[in-house]
Amino acid sequence: MVALISLSILGVFSMIAGLFNVNTKAVLTISIVTILGVLGFTAGFHWNNDYSRFYDMLNFDNYAVAFTCAILGSTAILLLFSEHFFSNIKQYITEYYSLIIFSVVGMIAMVAFDNLAMLFLGIEIMSVPLYILVGSQKKNLLSNESSLKYFLMGAFTTGILLMGITLIYGETGSFDLSTIQSYFQENATDSSPILLVGLFFLLAAMAFKVSAAPFHFWTPDVYQGSPTFITAFMSTVVKIAGFGAFFRLFYICFAPISEVWTTAIWVMAALTITIGSITAVFQNDIKRLLAYSSISHAGYMLISLLMVKNVESEAFGAIFYYVISYSISSIALFSVIMAVQKVKDSSSIDAFKGLAKANPLLGIIAAVSIASLAGLPPTAGFLAKFYILKSTVESGYVWLALIAVTNAIIGIFYYFKVLIAIYFKEAEDQSLSLIASSLAYKIVAVLLVIGILVLGIFPDLVYSIF
């Protein structure tokens, strides 16, 4: 609750600050400090302390607290990394901050909702600022295109989401998750068509938000067209929130009728992983490549929904660990991309040629984060995949595990295309050696790399918190 209020105030503050030409560095510092403060408060006071608000509209249980902290933490790190990006932008900087913070407010509602109405509100509060942020490079045609695409498809999805909620409400007579859940428990055997249609509308809407196949078509265009900082935001923080909500809705609320939707998730997960990784192989633009790779990762995270028959703490641990490892590795990689884009106005893989020689630190950050995304030990990404695969086999989905594993090998291939450019190719010009990073960036990036390795060696730090 404190989180929602203080972040909303922060959002309003930074928006007004823009009007009065307050120093942007100061606004950034205040934002980061506030976000970290809120994170500390949430973790400190709400952990193991279930806490319901607004007539059970929001429920800050451990699950919500963990995801809230992940969202806030990733946002703070991203904002710390924003220097390279904002150094090229001259105006409306504080408005960026304010939109990002408003979006985060929506995400917190998304992971803490206990009522379908709140889910809808959360998704909208998150999405509307994103539509603006995606199109924030007004003079860039790609940015405009992606904003329009995202907006139109997002609006359409909102309609589907609402329709789904309505149908569920029509059948169960409630928006409240626990009421719906107990309705399912009582009537698990005879699920009416209305309910099923409603369920699959919700499934489609959530799949759109996390860009799972076959609702992933917007992702590459939007990721490529948006300003890189926003792409990073969308592929990490937004994804955490999307999966937080997806998981909360299906794993908790729809668990009693899991046999209805597990097959759908199975197929979607297999499709998502395969389409994502196979298409990624053919990309030459790194943002597009990461868009497809993020689709593929979404598939792995979808698999965790199949663990509905496993124990709660294991499933929570697996998805949360995956989300954390994916987002810190992606953030680290995006920070490198932003640094390179500062001197090169291109996001093609060729722009990264010879980076390791010109700037060894960035090379190492890229290597470790790519190793983690590709799932190589001893990084966090390896254990994340290991946990997911282990529980897949445990739940009896051996074929799905085989598909996932095959795609992990394909994954190596396209991730390593980037590494080859960074390490094995010669630079075409001298511009890469002009990258100058501040001390703060270096410290945070090194900490992130250490974090990826430490999480990979001591997974219990995150995995066993539930």
Binding site: F386, L389, K390, V405, I409, F416, Y423, F424, F458, D460
Partner: protein, 558 residues
Amino acid sequence: MDILSLLVFAPLLAIFFILILPHNQSNFYKNITLVSTSIQFLLSLIVINRFDFSYPKIQLVEKFDWITINMQSLGYLSIDYYLGVDGLNLALVVLSTFIFMIGVVASWNVKENAKAYFCLYLLLTASVIGCFLALDLFLFFLFFEFMLLPMYFLIGMWGGPRREYAAIKFFLYTLAGSIFILIAMIGLSISAIEPLETAEQMNLTGETSADLIANVQNQLQLQKIPKKALVHTLDILQLSDKSNYIKGTWLSWDNETVLWGLSARAIVFLLLLIGFLVKVPSFPVHTWLPDAHVEASTPISVILASLLLKTGSYGLLRVAYTILPDQAIEFGWLVATLGVISIIYAAYNALAMNDLKKMIAYSSISHMGFVVLGIAAATAESISGAVFQMVSHGIISAALFLLVGVVYDRTHNRNIDSYRGLASKMPIYTTLTVITFFASLGLPGFSGFIGEVLILLGAFAAHSHNGIISSWFAVGATFGILLSAAYYLWTLQRMFFGKFWVKNGSLWSKKLTDLTFQERIILFPLVFLMILFGLFPHLILNIVSPTCALLADFIINR
């Protein structure tokens, strides 16, 4: 931190020193690396000193709880940090520390990006030695897969013209293999328990730990243990114990479920087999090796041939054969067939090669085929022979690749038909080459002979000992020795004997000088060891054979 952990992690300290040293001190990088690897070598000698040769089981154990996953109603998964030595790995550990030391001297002239080179080299040291020492499957896998990363960069950044292709091919092949191992590991992780930790969960106490283990295993077979208290394990030794498997799980010994005509245990065995054979490499998954060797620089080729390949065959023994002895008997024919095909097919390939390094790469595959055959036969002699052959091939192939490096460094050409009569120009070089070639083709008196003879003896006797394979496999393999004699002698004839002639005439003949001091100090010890172990094979066999006999016994009496 005990001696084995020190052995594995000492290089990390050296990496730290290299990282803090500024660039203008780049000459010190190699010195630090040399000191670090020498310390490792000394440590491995201390390990031999502490090793009890008469005791065949795991010694000098270091075991800590590492990751514990609480699955609540499904029990726990306990992953340990578990290191130890026995006859299977001790000789290989000493070999690795020695070869790594040689490799540093061979890298003495690396100038380009020396900091990264030596850091990666040290990382490789840590992960190869860690792989040989790890006794928890998870830890083993971690080291096994981690070593790909430094190797990938070492091939890809300091290699020849097609290095990117070779590096990614190497990586994808071996990674695909590792993924098979990963699936097998996941299957194993849900099937067996660690009795002592389970007893702790059940609050059982016993007079001795042996009583306690027997008690728990007994209750497990009667299915009296609540699921909640089961502590699953990936400890290789526990996984090898039949009575630790939970009744009704996929990999329990009495599971009759059949998938695609195979039992679950058979599938897991085949997964592990493919995974390790990629690394060995054996036919039909060997094609990455010639490419990787041709593109890698000399020291990296040395490490690749003499150590990385051994992790594959070692893993086959340590993991697949130890955990699934029943399937090892069932599929002995398959393993042996692949081994024999590798021996002969690779030997024919070697015969056809004009690139000296490629020829040696194929000869490597051929000789590793003997190791695979020895493992397949699974008699006490043949397993001892396989481990002996691993060590001996480690020494010989290191020398072979160093010898190729000698001509390549001088002329940047490795084609056999570019040279004739080198003997008159480079006498010491020629002598060493002749000795190494003879050692490799298995002339009595050299270490290669002992390994191959033990393997062939074991394979001949297998049908009467344990009936796993017929003696025809050994007959086929003998043909491989003949072929290896053919390609080595033919190469000697073409390159070294006759009248001196080189392709680029006077330009090259000036460059083709005899061995430098640096080349001598790395080649002489290797040649010395070939002869030493050929004349006194018990130096290795004393370490190796008790454990191998135990393993052979275990496989028959499973």
